[in-house]
């Protein structure tokens, strides 16, 4: 991997938005032209796959365990594109043809009904997060999605120390659980 590529990975890991824009712009036309030619899909489908590949790219770069450091940005992005397109096709084949790309992580073997129910529950959590408000919402997103350490969260959100962050995170999670339960009548809806 070239020094330049390594720098791009490092800056994306730090969520540098200017690098994300640069990467997105640099490979968009080539990626979409390649996907349209390879799978004979239309440009809108290819664009949706590209945007989801970029999303997965950012998430994987952040999650150190997943990133393949021997790849160039382009090789890695295009290999993600192949997988994302297969995922997209599978989803389209078993679900509503007009639905956009699924943004959920779930088991492969669940049926369409279960999948839709699960997606519905995720939307309820999303609504609960809005009700939960700040600073809990940001703290939980930083911890679970952005995979920041308690130390990093402490610095970013100006908490006294790591223990304060841990305590605050527990409190926020318990509050979110209560709000979610109020949002749903049946507490067993998550049991898939």
């Amino acid at each position: 991997m070239t020094k330049n590529n390594s720098l791009i990975f490092e800056r994306l890991k730090k969520e540098d938005e200017s690098v994300l824009i640069k990467v997105y712009e640099s490979y968009r036309d080539e990626f979409i032209s390649w996907l349209v030619k390879k799978y004979n899909c239309d440009i809108d489908e290819a664009l949706e796959v590209y945007q989801n590949s970029i999303l997965a790219f950012c998430e994987n770069v952040r999650n150190k365990s997943k990133i393949v450091y021997t790849s160039t940005v382009k090789t890695y992005l295009f290999s993600l594109g192949k997988n994302k397109y297969s995922e997209y096709k599978r989803y389209r084949d078993r679900c509503d043809k007009d639905k956009s790309f699924p943004l959920i992580e779930c088991e492969e073997n669940i049926n369409e009904e279960e999948l839709l129910k699960y997606e519905d529950n995720l939307k309820k959590v999303q609504e609960s997060l809005v009700i939960l408000g700040e600073p809990c919402k940001s703290l939980l997103e930083m911890f679970y999605y952005h995979q920041k350490t308690c130390e990093e969260i402490g610095t970013l959100m100006e908490y006294k120390n790591e223990d304060t962050v841990k305590n605050q995170k527990r409190k926020c999670m318990i509050r979110l659980k209560k709000i979610f339960e109020q949002q749903t009548e049946n507490i067993h809806i998550y049991s898939n």
């Binding site: 032209s33 939307k123 679970y144 999670m173 659980k177």
Partner: protein, 255 residues
């Protein structure tokens, strides 16, 4: 929900529990229904948090798309050219091609490239050869003062030549001597004095008039008076004389 349970569920999901603790955790999931429900709910909440933030990130990506020009489908019929500039394995080949193109363009444009006046002067100025008093054999005792002056001119000892030319009694009226005096001054970088001498000869003698115009053009070029220089070279380029071709070439290069 107990806070210890929340911590251990987090650790199990992150995969940071030891083998033994993970095994104990899984046994508890099978035997303790309330704990199992808590686990499933926490997993769902974490997935929901990720889902929510994933939507936010995707929206940011869509905003980038909105700020860009329309998608341009790349030419499918010329994949090699595409590879040359997008695939790092072909960067070497692309660099070689660019160097060849750059050299070609350089040589093509060489004729039309516009030079700095002083560079042009250096490229075109040559002291006029001594055809007035050619010295074939040196014999100091037998040389006249005029011959000595031209001898020094031939030897490129322009300072001495200028002094000797000026010491000649008829240097101000003899057009040949004035002309060589002007050239010697120009060769010594005294373009102002050279201009003065050449101006005194302008349109006086048709046999030397083209030469006078050529060197006057060079004098003005040296002084960076390009419009004056251009006027003399244009004049020479429009008539048939020994400077026509040179004048045409130099006109193309003057800024």
């Amino acid at each position: 929900m107990k806070t210890q349970d929340l911590d251990i569920i987090d650790q199990y999901i992150e995969g940071t529990l030891s083998k033994e603790k993970a095994k104990a955790f899984e046994q508890r999931l099978q035997t303790d229904n309330a704990f199992n429900d808590q686990f499933k709910q926490t997993k769902l909440l974490i997935s929901g948090i990720k889902y929510s933030e994933r939507i936010n990130t995707l929206n940011k990506i869509k905003q980038i798309e909105n700020s860009l020009p329309e998608i341009k489908m790349l030419n499918k019929h010329n994949p090699f050219i595409l590879k040359l500039f997008t695939d790092y394995r072909y960067y070497g080949t692309a660099a070689c091609i660019l160097v060849v193109i750059a050299f070609t363009l350089y040589f093509i444009s060489k004729e039309t490239y516009r030079f700095d006046s002083k560079e042009l002067f250096e490229a075109y100025f040559e002291p006029y050869p001594n055809v007035a008093y050619p010295i074939t054999r040196f014999d100091e005792g037998s040389l006249t003062l005029a011959q000595k002056a031209f001898y020094e001119y031939d030897q490129k000892n322009y300072t001495i030549a200028i002094a000797l030319f000026k010491s000649l009694p008829d240097y101000a009226t003899d057009q040949t001597i004035t002309f060589y005096l002007a050239i010697a001054c120009l060769a010594k970088d005294d373009s102002q004095q050279a201009t003065k001498y050449l101006q005194s000869l302008l349109n006086k003698n048709p046999t030397i008039n083209d030469k006078v115009k050529w060197y006057l053009g060079l004098c003005y070029l040296k002084e960076n008076k390009n419009s004056l220089a251009r006027a003399y070279f244009k004049d020479l380029s429009e008539t048939e004389n020994s400077y026509t071709q040179k004048a045409i070439r130099i006109l193309k290069k003057i800024k």
